[in-house]
Symmetry: C2
Subunit: 114 residues, 2 copies
Amino acid sequence: MPKSIARTYSRYTEDALAVLASLIRSARVQQRISAQQLAERAGISRSTLQRIEKADPKCEIGIVFELASLLGIALFDASPSSGELRRYRTLQEEKLTLLPERVRQPAREVDDDF
Amino acid sequence: MPKSIARTYSRYTEDALAVLASLIRSARVQQRISAQQLAERAGISRSTLQRIEKADPKCEIGIVFELASLLGIALFDASPSSGELRRYRTLQEEKLTLLPERVRQPAREVDDDF
DNA sequence: ATAATTTGACCGTTATATGAATCATAGATT
DNA sequence: AATCTATGATTCATATAACGGTCAAATTAT
């Protein structure tokens, strides 16, 4: 991550992060699991869990999703136990194969206008 | 991330990552945006976008969500343009304030059994 | 009221994600 | 068919995410 860039995020992104963060904390508290316990089950440190529950954008998405999985939080409207996501994945990947593999800019008009 | 841990992910997590990855690629291709162009708009490098479209779990969640935002992909059933997510966020955060701030293990029975 | 544990806030270290660059391939347009 | 650009695959350098620990504060259970 060279060239330290101060990254900005859209409101939508910040809202989505905040939603997921509070869903995680709500689920954890409702299930009476301490931060330490959840972190251990997820194989992460308590400090990382802290950042996630604070909606820090700079966390590995895999870890965050794994927490959702452990806590039974639905992603893409599919609960971890339902198995729906697998089908959605297959469907979505099939759709992808129907699209062109590459995108190309339409050739510029040769006679450039002024 | 000291103590190099080989992290594992549940099927649910992998599916969710794959769904999001193919949603991103599908949207990008359908909107005829090249990887380079999208990366620039998102303020990331093309190589990072490549990893995200390959469902790599070790990417910043903020970047991934920002791509969803740019491409109009719905997170938590709310399109970026709708503004629904903001309300959902507020609601969810209010719910959180109603829960106990800490979790505590119920005290063990004093008269331990043998 | 007391006790004890959870949580928040740090900090230093280390593994690693990201950025930048290059090269080969091949798909899309003409 | 030919051209040209988009993509995939690598590699290296660097900023930083995650870890592990500590300490104080405060909430919850007794």
